[in-house]
């Protein structure tokens, strides 16, 4: 069971130089983000009104949903961080992605699980996703044009994805920060 995600990953690698078909699964994503983790525990969040207001204030965006899919990564009993799964609309279609967060609510990694648009697939590029690393909601730099560069021809996808990450960073700061 444990080797399945590894097998899938290596298959993807063999498919390079082209991007592998769409699916990075959630398991693959969490392995990529937390390679030393020994256990992943689902820790879904349910926000209350007050928390949603805080998140809105912090991110400048509506909190959008009450429920959020969060997975905690543990090495033994030590918390390594969290992974939050989410979907946003690009230009017309859904982008499935995951944000890895450190316990201090800074962004650890962003992975795109499924990208369906015909244009703008460059959001999957490591170089573009690296722009998010180390940033936090309060620290700023998580807006297109202010810390995150746009991708020409895919402005909407970039903006929505960046907004999604910023929202998740705000949620992490409000709900998960230790």
């Amino acid at each position: 069971m444990r080797y399945q995600p590894l097998l899938a990953l290596s298959a993807c690698v063999l498919c390079a130089p082209a991007f592998a078909t769409q699916y990075l699964s959630a398991e693959q994503a969490q392995q990529l983000m937390f390679p030393d983790a020994t256990a992943f525990r689902p820790q879904p969040l349910a926000l209350n009104a007050a928390q949603m207001q805080q998140i809105e204030k912090l991110s400048g965006l509506p909190a959008r949903s009450v429920n959020w899919r969060v997975v905690g990564a543990y090495k033994g009993d030590a918390l390594l961080g969290y992974m939050v799964l989410d979907d946003v609309t690009g230009k017309f279609e859904l982008i499935s992605y995951a944000v890895g967060l450190n316990p201090d609510a800074t962004v650890r990694q962003v992975e795109v699980l499924a990208y369906r648009e015909s244009h703008g697939g460059e959001v999957r590029l490591p170089a573009w996703r690296r722009q998010f690393v180390g940033k936090s909601a309060s620290g700023g730099g998580l807006t297109v044009g202010e810390g995150i560069a746009n991708i020409s021809g895919a402005t909407l996808s970039c903006t929505h994805l960046t907004d999604g990450v910023r929202r998740i960073a705000a949620i992490a700061q409000v709900m998960l920060k230790k």
Partner: protein, 472 residues
Amino acid sequence: MNLNKKLIAVALGAAFLSAPLHAGASEKELKARMDKMATELEELKAALKASMQKTAELEARQQQIAATEAKNASANSAANTAAITAAATSAATATATSVATNVATTVATDLANSRAEAARSAPSTIFTGYGEINYNRPTKNASAAQADIRRAVIGIEHRFDEKTKMVSEFEWEHGVVSASDKGESEIEQLYVEREFSNGLRGKVGLFLMPVGLLNTNHEPTAYYGVERNFVETAIIPTTWREVGVGLSGDTAFGLTWDAGITTGFDLGKWDATSEEGRESPLGSIHQEGQMAKSRDLAFHGALNWRGVPGLLLGGSVFSGKAGHNTEGFAANDARVTLYDLHARYTPGPWDLSALYARGQISNTEALNATFVGNPTPVPKSFAGWYTQAAYQLLKSGDYTLSPFVRYEQFNTAKSYAYVPQGLGVETGPDEKVTTVGASLKVGEGVVLKADYQKFKEDKSRDRLNLGMGFAY
């Protein structure tokens, strides 16, 4: 206890019922999913067991406290103990409840996920659209002021399954379409796209040529200025679409490539008596999939590199003959070639772009000899370039104000093939246009624009433009 077991049973049943929804998923994925759910179940059971144990321990401790307190028996202590007991009980219940809630939530979330995933992979149809309403006022000729519904477009995209989708776009120009009105209605895109297992995408149908910066990104919210820039309308005939097949793919270091074989142009449509060919040479001979002559097909290729975030460098080439071996036509050997180079860089609030495009039509000597005396023979070459800078000046809530400036230089007839006895038409100077203006974006789908355009050669065209555009 029973409640929790019931919940688990319901969850399992619902999970298996939802299996049929995964219509597009492969067996392998189903199996993986089931395995995943099994693992989660195990974890849940373990967690539940652990919390059960804790509850039991709590109860035991609680009884001990109660017993000790009862030994020291005093009315207050009893009351306190009762309170503590009550608190402990409610805490235990709360823990159990929260565990149950967690289980239910996780299961429900998983259910929602599966439903969402099912929904994503199930066929879906979305409507898209954009529109522009423009006002132009030549500064030296107010009686030529004009307000026009430049275009209204509706697009329908239908996703058949994870890998296959259909894209269509229908357009109406200039407000009213009829034989005696000036409007036109047309099909701008109509193609089917399929994604292959190695990331390659293929499309068949009527689709946009991957040329320049504007052609594939032509919604009014995507460019600066009320009117589309001249280089990408007069030289590159935006919105340029052809019928054929195309392939595209990405590489891991940010390179996107496109290639394809499509219909091309029909030089037999060239009208030397009208001004159309002077406004846009390729625009006057495009076929747009309209019973398009296809004896001569054309190929195109494009490369776009976005390896550095915020930077785009790219280019394209298109080439095809345009005579179609037509009986009695003097230019059956003519070949139309167009190539472009473009760059766009968006550091912080800046949006800088530059583009160069050049077109050539070869073997037009015999045809132009038949056009002597007419005002618009076929040009041998036509070209243009522009540079543009925009800056996001103000951002307040939903509103974003971005002033911009653009300088473009183009010539729709840079050279002609030789015509004897000096009977050809003289080439003219490049037209140079400076555009200064601003865009006010309201949210991300609506834009209000204003700009002023100054023409170097034909000063009667200087004009003020206002426009409203939207895209969704």
